[in-house]
């Protein structure tokens, strides 16, 4: 998918965020994105940013944890739309290996066999040749291929298909230059969270 290639660098960040349970709380609270200043002060609108055009080169993302009053600033040049889509896909099952897709046997639908391909919702036609996954669930060749190259799991039972080692290894290497600034805000100063100019000056670096 295009979104995966658009934001590989930021996706590794989110993978890291997702691994830390407490950091996970940041994810729904993306406060705002802008070139050099934070334009949004309302932390309760975590979803509005998706509608905002984000074409600038350098962007800053502010993640706010409302439980601890903490926030994290991420600088880089991600395309936010791609980031959010990429991150949504990130945690799903990675694509199935080419070999495993090719290895799926073709089977013939029996004369009295009922059922349908759950991907296109077309009923089986007697004598039709379809693909059978290792979990024995059957799909049209074209239908299941389209899915397995995105997520290598059975649409019905989530049976996990083998994954290409290479693809998995690559993701871990995609560290790139970015600045993370951690800010712990006391309760009284939490009003300043909307003021971007204050943020970088009060940094105490925690995460590397």
């Amino acid at each position: 998918m295009a979104s995966e290639t658009d934001a590989p660098e930021i996706s590794s960040l989110f993978e890291r965020l997702l691994r830390h349970r407490d950091l996970y709380f940041f994810l729904p609270f993306i406060l705002g994105v802008s070139n050099n200043s934070v334009s949004r002060e309302n932390g309760e609108n975590p979803d509005q940013e998706t509608s905002q055009e984000t074409t600038s080169q350098r962007e800053r993302i502010i993640l706010v944890n409302p439980f601890t009053q903490g926030m994290v600033v991420v600088e880089g040049d991600p395309n936010l739309e791609a980031l959010l889509r990429g991150w949504a896909n990130k945690d799903g099952q990675p694509p199935a290996s080419k070999a495993s897709i090719e290895a799926m046997p073709s089977v013939k639908i029996g004369e009295s066999e009922d059922g349908e391909c759950v991907v296109c919702l077309e009923e089986w036609k007697p004598g039709e040749v379809v693909k059978e996954m290792p979990c024995k669930h059957k799909f049209h060749d074209e239908c299941i291929q389209k899915w397995l190259v995105i997520h290598g799991s059975c649409p019905v039972c989530r049976y996990k298909m083998p994954v290409d080692e290479e693809v998995m290894g690559k993701k871990g290497d995609e560290e790139r230059s970015r600045r993370e600034i951690w800010v712990s805000l006391s309760f009284d100063s939490s009003r300043r969270t909307g003021d971007s100019n204050q943020v970088p000056s009060t940094d105490n670096e925690m995460e590397g």
């Binding site: 998918m1 309760e44 609108n45 975590p46 409302p66 949504a88 945690d91 899915w147 995105i150």
Partner: protein
């Protein structure tokens, strides 16, 4: 490219089963990429008796990418933004499968109304209230259901009928209701001022 043949099949199935599930899906326009879903609030919850409208947008990759869903009806729930209606539900994100349909996805949203997950919140304020002051949460959720999910629970036909009974012509009533997004009071105001 959206698999429109599949979307058509889904809509047919939904209309066949709408009486048993209470869930309705209808297209907003001819292109089938924008739809509206209606789910009844589950019994025994603060959402009981409410009828919740959900805005559905199908991405180009549907059914290989999840449908985008958000609440149009305001709802007080830890996993639904009280501001934007955004829904925090795994099957609408990374746990989507093409074996799921608009109907099963809406059933999952309905199940989410029955079983909030305050530890994975979409709306932090609601989640905190749910965890710290559960009775207040129930009261607020019920009040929001009363205020926002009931007026719209009346079917369009009932609204049309009432407005026609007030003496407005059927066609004008329908076009006016459509223009104001189905809000009966706004439609009446508009009809009276025209």
């Amino acid at each position: 490219m959206i698999d429109f043949a599949r979307v058509q099949k889904e809509l047919q199935e939904c209309s066949r089963e709408k009486d048993s599930s209470g869930i309705r899906v209808s297209p907003k326009s001819d292109n089938l990429a924008r739809l509206t879903g209606i789910i009844p609030g589950p019994l025994g919850t603060p959402y009981e008796g409410g009828s919740f409208e959900i805005d559905i947008t199908l991405p180009d990759g549907y059914p290989f990418e999840p449908p985008k869903m958000k609440f149009v009806t305001k709802v007080w729930h830890p996993n639904i933004s009280s501001q934007s209606g955004a829904i925090c539900l795994d099957i609408l994100k990374d746990q989507w499968s093409p074996a799921l349909t608009l109907k099963t996805a809406l059933l999952s949203v309905q199940a989410l109304l029955s079983a909030p997950e305050p530890d994975d919140p979409q709306d932090a304020v609601v989640a905190q209230q749910y965890l710290r002051e559960y009775q207040t949460f129930v009261g607020t959720a019920r009040y929001w259901t009363e205020s926002f999910a009931k007026a719209s629970s009346l079917g369009v036909e009932e609204k049309v009928q009432r407005l026609v009974e007030m003496g407005f012509p059927d066609g004008l009533v329908r076009s006016t209701l459509e223009a104001v997004g189905g809000d009966e009071n706004l439609a009446l105001e508009k009809l009276l001022s025209s």
